[in-house]
Amino acid sequence: GGNGATETPETPETQAPETTAEPFVFGMILVGPQDDRGWSQAHFEGGKYVEEKMGAQMIVIDKVNPADRPDTSVEQVVDQMVEQGAQLIFATSDDMKDGILAAAKAYPDVPMIWSSGDSAWDIGKAYAGLPNLGNIMGQMEYGKMMAGCAAALKTETGSIGYLGPLINDETRRLTNSAYLGARYCYENYRGLNPDDLTFSVNWIGFWFNIPGVTLDPTQVTNDFFDGGADVVISGIDTTEALVRAGQRSAAGEKVWAVPYDYRGACAEAPEVCLGVPYFNWGPSYLEVARSVADGTFEATFQWVGPDWSDINNPDTSAIGFEFGEGLGDARADLEDFIAGLASGEIDLWVGPLNYQDGTPFLAAGEKATDLQIWYMPQLLEGMIGASSAE
C-alpha cells in the first residue's frame, strides 16, 4: 500500500521531542500499476526503500495515464499531493513531461524529479532550466549490453530476435546497446564472425499489447522462433517473450528469452531465462530525498550507472543484471564481459560504427558522447528492422 504511515517507525510515541513531529512526505506518480512487476513497480519499490531508510511517508498514485485515468492529469495529482504535504514529487514516466513541467512551474518551491527525462540536462535538446525539477535515469544501456551478450552466448542458430515496443530515441539506444553486446560476445567468447549474427528487431507499436492496435507480442515472439531465432530479448513491459520461450521449451524446443525491467521477471519461466537487466531506483531516490530534507537539493540531470563493484547491490547500484538459470555454463563468460565493462576495458560505444543506412556514426576509434547515445537517430548497421516511424 502507498499509505506508509502504519509502517513508519516514527510514531509520535517513539519520536524524540526535539525532532520534527511530521515525517518527510513525498509523492510518487506512477504510469502503470504499482504491482506491474515491471517499470512502475520498480519505482514503487524505490519509494518503499526511501520510506524505510528515512522513515518518510510516500503518497502514491498509479496508472496516471490518459487511458487508465482519463480525468486525472499529472498537474491535478501534484496539486493534491502538495495539499497533502508532499515535499518532493517523483514523476516516473517519460509520458509525464508536460504535466510535470507545468507543475514544477506552478510550485517552484517543491522539488520534483522527472525520471527518464532530460529537462535538467543543460546540454540536452530540451533543457528547461527549472531550479526545482531534476532528472534521474539509470544507464540501462549497460543492462541491455549484458542482455545482448547473454543472448549471443547461448544462440545456436546465430539468430536473435528483439521484441521492440515503439520506435523512439530511447528504444533505439537500448536496442542498439543489446546489439553491440551481442556482437562483442559472439565474436570474443564464441569465436564466431559477428557479421554472421542475425539480429532482427520487430516493433509491436506500444509498451504493451493493445489488441487490434499493436502487434500481439505472443505472435511476434512465435514468429521470431519460427523464423529461426532461438533467443528473444524483450524490450516491452510485459513478459510474453519469456512465457512463449518457456512453453516452447516445454514442448521440446531449445529456445531462450531475456525479459526486461523487473528483478523478479525470470520467475515466469526460470529454466529458459538468461537473466534480466533491471532498474534499482532506491539509492538514487534516497539520495535526492535526503538532499531535499537537509535543504541541499539541486536540480540536476543524473544518468546513473551500475555500481561496478557489485552491480546487484540493492543499496548502491542503479542498474543490475539478475542471472537466469537458462544461462548455464555461459554465465562465466557473461561475468567476464561484465568485469570488462566494469574495468573500462570493454567500451562498445567506440567507432567504427555506422548507422543502419550506412551513414557513419562514429569514425574509427571515436568514442560516442552522452548526447550521441541519448539521442540515437537510427538503428546500427547490421541490424534488421525498422529504424524510424516516419
Partner: protein
C-alpha cells in the same frame, strides 16, 4: 511455413473459443455483447483459482461458469425482462472489465500454473499437418475439436436445425413445439461458457497470468469476427486465423515499409472490412445469385431474429 501456421493456430485458440461461442449464442438470436468484459473477468478468475489451488482444470471450470452466468444474465434480461440485449451486454462489458481489474489486483503478473504442451505421438510426425494440428497442447486441440463439433452440430443435427430456427424465426420454432427460451438460455450458457474458456485460455495458456491490458480488446475482435464469418463456425474460425495471419503479415511488412511500421499492426481491420465490402459487392452478389453454391459460400445473413425478444 508450417511453424508459422502452427503458431497462428495456437495463438488464435482463445479467440476461436470466444468467437465460436458467441456464434452459438447469436445463432439462437441472443446477442451477448459483454464479451470483452466477460473474457477479462474469466481470465482473471481462472488464473486466480489456478494460482490459489494449483489446478488448471479448476481454473478453466471457474472461468467457464462465470462467463456462462454472465451470458445467462444477458439472455434473462432479454427473455424475461424484455430489455435490449445490446444495451445490457454493453454495460456488462465495461462493468466486468472494471471488476476484473478491481478484484484481480492481488494476482497481477504473478507466475502461476499453465497448460502443458502435449504432442500427439505418431500423428505429430505427419509432415506439415502434424506440426500444425498435433504438436500443440490440449487447449488448442479443444479449439480445433470445437470447430468441427459445432460445424457438425449446426449442419447435421436436430439441435443445430432447431437452434437456427429459434434465431431465425422464433414463432416458427414455437409453433413446432420447440422451446424458444430453453434454446436461448442454453445457447447463451454454452456460448458464454466458451467465452469463459477463452478467458481461461488467455491467462492459463497463451498469455499466462493476469493483467488487464493482456486481454482487453479481444472480446470486441471476437464479436467482429462473428460478423465477418457470417455466423458460420468454420468461417468464424477461419476469421480468427486470418486475424492472426494478417498480424504476421504486418510483421513481415515492417522492414519493407519502415515508415509506416507503427500503423501496420492495425492492418487486419481494414483488410477484413475490405473483404466484407468485396463479398457484399453487387457483382459478387449477382454471381452468387447465378451460382447458388457460390452464393451460399460467400453470403450469410445474420439470424433474422438476432437481438430481438420473442413474445407469443
Amino acid at each position: 511455413m508450417e511453424a508459422t501456421i502452427a503458431s497462428i493456430v495456437a495463438a488464435a485458440a482463445p479467440l476461436v473459443f470466444a468467437a465460436v461461442g458467441e456464434t452459438i449464442t447469436e445463432k439462437a438470436g441472443v446477442v451477448n455483447l459483454s464479451l470483452d468484459g466477460s473474457i477479462a473477468l474469466s481470465a482473471m478468475a481462472s488464473f486466480a483459482v489456478a494460482f490459489l489451488t494449483g489446478s488448471v482444470v479448476l481454473g478453466f471450470a471457474v472461468g467457464a461458469i462465470l462467463s456462462a452466468l454472465v451470458a445467462m444474465l444477458v439472455a434473462f434480461s432479454g427473455i424475461r425482462l424484455r430489455l435490449n440485449q445490446v444495451a445490457v451486454g454493453f454495460v456488462l462489458t465495461l462493468l466486468l472489465a472494471a471488476l476484473a481489474q478491481f478484484l484481480g489486483n492481488p494476482f497481477v503478473r504473478q507466475p502461476g500454473p499453465s497448460v502443458r504442451p502435449m504432442s500427439v505421438p505418431l500423428l505429430s510426425e505427419i509432415p506439415f499437418v502434424g506440426r500444425i494440428l498435433f504438436a500443440q497442447n490440449i487447449s488448442v486441440y479443444a479449439s480445433l475439436v470445437l470447430i468441427v463439433v459445432v460445424a457438425w452440430v449446426f449442419r447435421r443435427t436436430r439441435v443445430g436445425l432447431e437452434l437456427a430456427a429459434v434465431g431465425e424465426r422464433p414463432e416458427a420454432a414455437h409453433a413446432r413445439g420447440i422451446s424458444v427460451s430453453r434454446y436461448r438460455f442454453g445457447a447463451a450458457a454454452v456460448g458464454g461458457a466458451l467465452v469463459g474458456i477463452a478467458g481461461a485460455a488467455f491467462s492459463l495458456d497463451v498469455k499466462l497470468g493476469w493483467s488487464d491490458t493482456q486481454v482487453a480488446g479481444f472480446g470486441w475482435i471476437a464479436l467482429a469476427i462473428v460478423i465477418f464469418g457470417g455466423w458460420r463456425p468454420v468461417w468464424v474460425a477461419l476469421g480468427c486465423y486470418l486475424f492472426g495471419a494478417l498480424q504476421v503479415l504486418a510483421l513481415k511488412l515492417q522492414p519493407v515499409f519502415p515508415g509506416v511500421a507503427q500503423i501496420l499492426p492495425s492492418l487486419p481491420f481494414p483488410l477484413m472490412i475490405f473483404t466484407l465490402v468485396v463479398v457484399n459487392s453487387d457483382r459478387l452478389q449477382r454471381l452468387g445469385e447465378r451460382f447458388p453454391f457460390l452464393g451460399r459460400l460467400l453470403m450469410s445473413d445474420a439470424p433474422a431474429a438476432l437481438g430481438t425478444n420473442f413474445e407469443v
